[in-house]
Point group: D2
Chain length 312, copies 4
């Protein structure tokens, strides 16, 4: 087994799943979406069927189709396509992992099951191991998001135990603000080539200084370019500039959080910024209000986040 | 549409899903399980693929097979077989609802989606309505369990809105200790024939006096007979006796809760009491320890909850 | 030590602390308040300086004065005056306990400290024991209210350990809906003369059938008479009538909970119903809005909870 | 009013309150404690009677005495002595604020009340304003620690409203990992001379890059020197060195957190490192176990955090 071609790093967009107005998946715009990410946002890695992609709201069959389409459209354009295959049912997660391997994805990611929660680290690792084993040639990433799953096992402890059990383990998406936990993931694994990707977009800078090797997030769909500029300033040790970019991004996120911000609103913003119709979310999510969209647009303009002209 | 043949009432066992030691579903013992519930426990209604049945840990395909087997085996033996068809994906929930209708189940139940949570009452009712519409001839029950789903919308408010939108609505499983909410469900709907089933086994008596029309729970698999005796005493207004039964049941549940009590442990206890092998749970749950089983057995004996001889 | 003259039972009003418009304690109306409770509501026991009385928002000096005034005014009119002496500081709690003994109160009650939380049962019992020892001749009650304190130690486990350590222990105020825990408090202590008082007014009936010996609550200030009628019906085993009273009370509480219900609102309602001015609450609480008061009044009228004429 | 002599910055030690074995305050070692902080740890600012100092476990009288002793002993040695005067009772908080002014403290800090929680931003600001007004010549700091208080009002929103209402407002202690909120506090107030002090010691570096002007914490009692080295490396833009210091500190904190880490354990560690006896904590806290102390000592040694020789 040769893992992986190269380490996953830089920005990874957590893709939205475009839908038609009547709630079916709108496969037709995925090609355009790929081009937009690469050309307009400078983002060449994607994370498909995660929280942002409403992965858990799709049927297994839909998840397969969505994954296949992103892999097909991304060919020769994207660097890496990681498929989130987490599910409440181990069997379904395994099926999705096998499928990701078949279609030639670059990796799989798995969230901790969160209806029945793992009672301890060993139970969680056992679950993840069974999924990973279904795609033995694919890099495996753990998707750590305790605020959504309620699973409180620290990532650092998990990494400590995961490496022997899951040979394909290649890193994690760390979606939490506990930078002791994240820092210790970095500190304890600095001799390994793990991708330690931060998942709280609005405070990415705080994780960069702690050693993050990249980031996965929904805002990189439409703020990828701005965030890449922050990454470049950070690389050059120009912290004043980096912080200015971070604050600018925070102003936007801070604003929309107060309005109520989630996947529904991200779909509205992405439609606005990219000109590609993302459509409504699926129930139990509900479409963002027109009032939200109008306010978000005004804020984007005031921050100069909308380019001079956007396609439609 | 003629709904329903009769109101669901009395005890409803939330069935376990028997598994083999290697984690596959053990369909072969379901027939015996039906007989045990009817003959040994006096329980003639079941709730399939719910929390106790690890419904959300099964694949959609497995959920269909399990549902079909219970309906088939229960024919002419059970009064009502309700299938839990809740899922994170609306599409899968709808598929399961259609299937429940095809196999001739007596009703469907749906939990609130809990990864993306409904932002308000209307969003939740819209979701439930879409599921119910997939099985327009089947009684529809809402499965209210806020401690597991994190969905805090009060049942009373939901019922207030659900009746116009979901004509097949027939009641709810109320798994919470908020008896203001439950009481108001009863109070506000006393002129309708809804089944208002309580789901916290260890304090059923407190809900009976508030007007519960029945109960759904995991302990009725092995404490159905004892609980039926409590119901009878309550019906006769013999509250001293009813309370004695309730306290006796509480002593057992209180004891196992301190040891750590969940579906894994329920499988071990049911195996012990019924003699029918329930097997291990599926990951991320892990098999109950031998120490738990030994302690639970000793407690059952001390409370005289094990009959003189049990089959193997 | 002769403990206690008699067991605390029936309804116990958690008294409000009347204040003037500029936020000082209005001692002048406490005599009238006593008469109102006894004559209009038929309530002869009180719980002073608890949550409803804003005890923790008062200075130690104010708590002493308030306690002394209630004891003085209640002389020969009230049956028992229990003073809540819980505080974050053990020293202050001890001072208040000594003072309660000096003024001739009938008992003291203590909440679990909740800034630093007790790490286990032993730590909590050690704390309570030190307070109780400061008033060695007074009955001691534990005030169990996990939703406010965040202390999750079960009451049943506490009672199991508290009896050896605190000889003055006489019971608890159980303000939670976990009737397994409450039921086991009753079941395990049926041979002792503990007062097991329920503290969730809106579902008192559910605790009565589980063996509650009384109730402490804020609504008994103005719904004492109605609640006493429920108690009487329950005593006579007239459950239909008891449930009707409970539902009627629930309709009011359910209504005000939706409007936002707390101590501020209780002050407004009590002023309305009794005609005795309760004044505003102390910061960080803020006075109930006029809109709330108008809505609450309309609801009280519609439920016939306001007598034909009230004093001003 | 001339506020303040100079901006509070750099490290601020949240002091422990030394106690004798029988639980009384050990005033006799405070002078030595001051010298230790200044000479051995290079820390010249202190935060007295906060969480670390068990401020809320002390009586008002004790809090006054402790505050007075630190001010007296710190004279001509410490730069700034800030007294935490937060309390559940507004009256007591005001008394402590007046006292802090009388003894010549350099500032006061106030935590949000957390038994009754502020229903909104205005209620909280009103409370804080009343406290601040009792010491109109002292710099006022808000102590933001939502994990302990349960008060979820964002600091950024509070600062937005606090400046008009509280003219003495000089900054906040931000004890949370939400660096969007903290970042926006910095971003929105960069033209003012507020002290924006971070309070999560184990990830201070992440806040420095977001613009923190200093830090308040318990570990600066014994890791002040190491942390000052990190601050110096950060100032020089030597991020590799800064991160090495941060990781080293994290290794220790990460280790003790797994053993169970709080004020009790901090007292044991400080006694160990400084040689000054801190004594036990006050109930409901319990003394750290000998096992903890032995493990912590071994870890400190392995990380070279104990100097070659320490006084006794």
């Amino acid at each position: 087994m040769a893992l992986p071609k190269k380490k996953l790093q830089g920005l990874v967009a957590a893709t939205l799943t475009p839908m038609t107005e009547n709630g079916e998946i709108n496969f037709s715009v995925i090609g355009r979406y790929v081009d937009y990410l690469v050309k307009d946002q400078g983002v060449k890695n994607i994370f498909v069927n995660g929280t942002t992609g409403e992965g858990l709201s799709l049927s297994v069959s839909e998840r397969r189709q969505v994954a296949a389409e992103w892999v097909a459209q991304g060919k020769n354009k994207l660097d890496q396509v990681v498929i989130h295959v987490g599910a409440l049912s181990l069997k379904e997660s395994q099926e999705l992992a096998r499928h990701a391997a078949e279609i030639g994805a670059d990796g799989i990611a798995v969230i901790a099951p969160f209806f029945f929660k793992s009672q301890n680290k060993d139970a969680l690792i056992s679950f993840l191991k069974e999924v990973a084993a279904a795609a033995p040639a694919l890099p495996f990433y753990y998707y750590h998001i305790p605020a959504l799953t309620g699973v409180k096992i620290r990532a650092e402890e998990l990494l400590d135990g995961i490496q022997d059990k899951i040979p394909t383990f290649q890193g994690l998406k760390f979606t939490d603000t506990d930078l002791l936990d994240f820092g210790q993931c970095v500190d304890q694994n600095h001799q390994r080539q793990f991708a330690l990707l931060f998942g709280v977009d609005e405070q990415l800078l705080s994780a960069l200084i702690m050693g993050a090797s990249g980031a996965v997030g929904s805002t990189y769909n439409y703020l990828g370019k701005k965030t890449n500029q922050m990454l470049e300033a950070f690389e050059k040790k120009d912290f004043t500039t980096a912080l200015n970019y971070q604050f600018c991004i925070q102003r936007f996120i801070n604003y929309v959080i107060k309005l109520g911000f989630g996947v529904s609103q991200t779909k509205a913003i992405m439609t606005l910024v990219s000109g590609i119709p993302m459509g409504p979310p699926r129930l139990p999510l509900q479409k963002a209000t027109q009032e939200f969209t109008a306010n978000a647009e005004a804020k984007l303009k005031s921050l100069d986040f909308l380019g001079p002209k956007k396609g439609t």
